[in-house]
Amino acid sequence: MQGQVILFQLLNGIGIGMIYFLLSVGLTMIFGLMRFVNFAHGTLYLVGAYTAYSVSLLTGSMWWALAFGPLAAAVIALISERLILRHTYEMPHEAQILVTFALALIFQESIILIFDPLAKNVPVPSLLSGIVFIGSFVYPAYRLAVVFAAAVIAILLWFALERTRFGAALRAGSESTEMVSLLGINVQKVFMVAFLVGGGLAGLAGTLSAPLRGVEPFMGSEALGVAFVVVVVGGIGSFTGALLGGLLIGVVQSMASSLWPEGARLMIYGAMALVLLVRPAGLMGRS
């Protein structure tokens, strides 16, 4: 039995970890590209989750939600980049942080305005609402699907970063934006795509987690904190770091929840403090 509990929690942890990865990879990518920390990043997760909630309520299908959640977040990321954020690139970091933080507040209040401050449940897609048997081991199908979906996206993302012209521009841009413009690539366009993709992934994280944890207006600011923990642990600006950091944090949280349920969320910060002590630059970070 004990072994099954551990396996169960480990799988849960990997699922949560993959969601954390999707949540954080955009943040770390955008930071690597333009030294810009978006305190409104958690908002995109929030938007993804609430879109999933609304769409599944309207259409009765979680499948539409899976399409619209990331889309809504991506569009909002793009619009806020074009309308507001790009005007702050030349400002001090403090100003960027405060403006994006204020944006996050505005979105959070808007969500409460449109819906209400109460937490709501989101149904699991009917096709995935069952359980799967792996030998004698029983596991919820939806959680397993989350792990697979996120893994597929991680591989696609890795491929896009490593094997495409856009990925090369993105990686070059994180070294030097000047170099990118010298190569004749439109830096503005790279920024836009980074926001679009990063926002969409954070939205997807929100969408995927909605059936697992429900939605509530403050999940965005909570997600921002988790994303920060992931990038601090993984090393900021690193794709692999976000993946490793997300998985580590997810597994720590899941394992801790079987040992000390009230302290599970506390433990992820403990893990962060430990990494800070041992490797201040993060697991994959360059100092």
Binding site: V37, E94, S221, E262, R265, L266, Y269
Partner: protein, 330 residues
Amino acid sequence: MNTFSAYRPFPDATTGALAIVLVALPFVLPSVTLASELVVFAVGALSCTFLLGLVGLLSFGQGLFFGIGAYGAALILLHSNSGSLVAVLAAAAMAAIAAAIVGFLSVRRRGIYFVMLTLAFAQMGYFAMLALKNVTGGENGLTGVPRPPIVADLGVLAHPQAVYAFLAAICFLAFVLTQRVASSPLGSVLRAIRENDIRADALGYDVRLFKIAALAFGGFLAGLAGAMHTIFLGLAPPNTIEPEMSERLVIMAIIGGTGSPMGALIGAGFYVLLADFLSTLWPRWLMIIAFLMIAIVLFLPNGLWGSAELLIGRWKSHRARAVSPEPVDG
């Protein structure tokens, strides 16, 4: 008057102005309760103003220390016979120690990383409060906290007026202490670190250690405010340690302006009064505050107080020119 921007003698005109404002507040405001709330948050905002204005550290984690002060004071008052003053000071000291520990971990990273860490640690505080519900009361917080006399039998805190007088006195001392630190040799080092930490290091200053000390002092101020909050309410609710508390203190500091301690008073006053006014009109008033904050960051980077100071300065020099005799032509 911009005590944080450049070296200024101590005490200055704002010290006297602060005393007058604190005495006048309960008579000017609609209720003494509102005045008490204002001075509590003035001290809380001061912790952010001090860190950002003097040392250049943007902390999204002051709510953690506010919460430690609030819960610390409540625990001391619930479980010991100490007077209110001892409880407040001890709780602030606990917050200072916690801030030094968090600071030790956070100053390993600079700039944006530091800000991210402060936010993460603030959330950690909230989850720690939930996890330790035997001590903290979990979602219910700590209730029925007594409000004993200030010291031994002296200074009975039975009336709201007496509570205000006690809190206003602490607020005054906290501001004076902050002004004193800012205009001391230590303050000059912190200002140098804000200006150029690489140079400060090359001059022989252990930048990390000074930052930790500054964070401990910031934690002390936030903890003081939290403990004052417990005295004010007679309970320690969970929202004193929620990440929203950190955000609120930052917003107050930014709105007021971080160039001088007075910015914290103005920012907290503006926020508390606006919230008191708006919350009866529209429950989503926080959205207005957020728009206001964007406007201030983009158009009034010195905040309300800093901009007012600039205006006063211009008006004075304008008047000086107008009064001085015009040079006589030919």
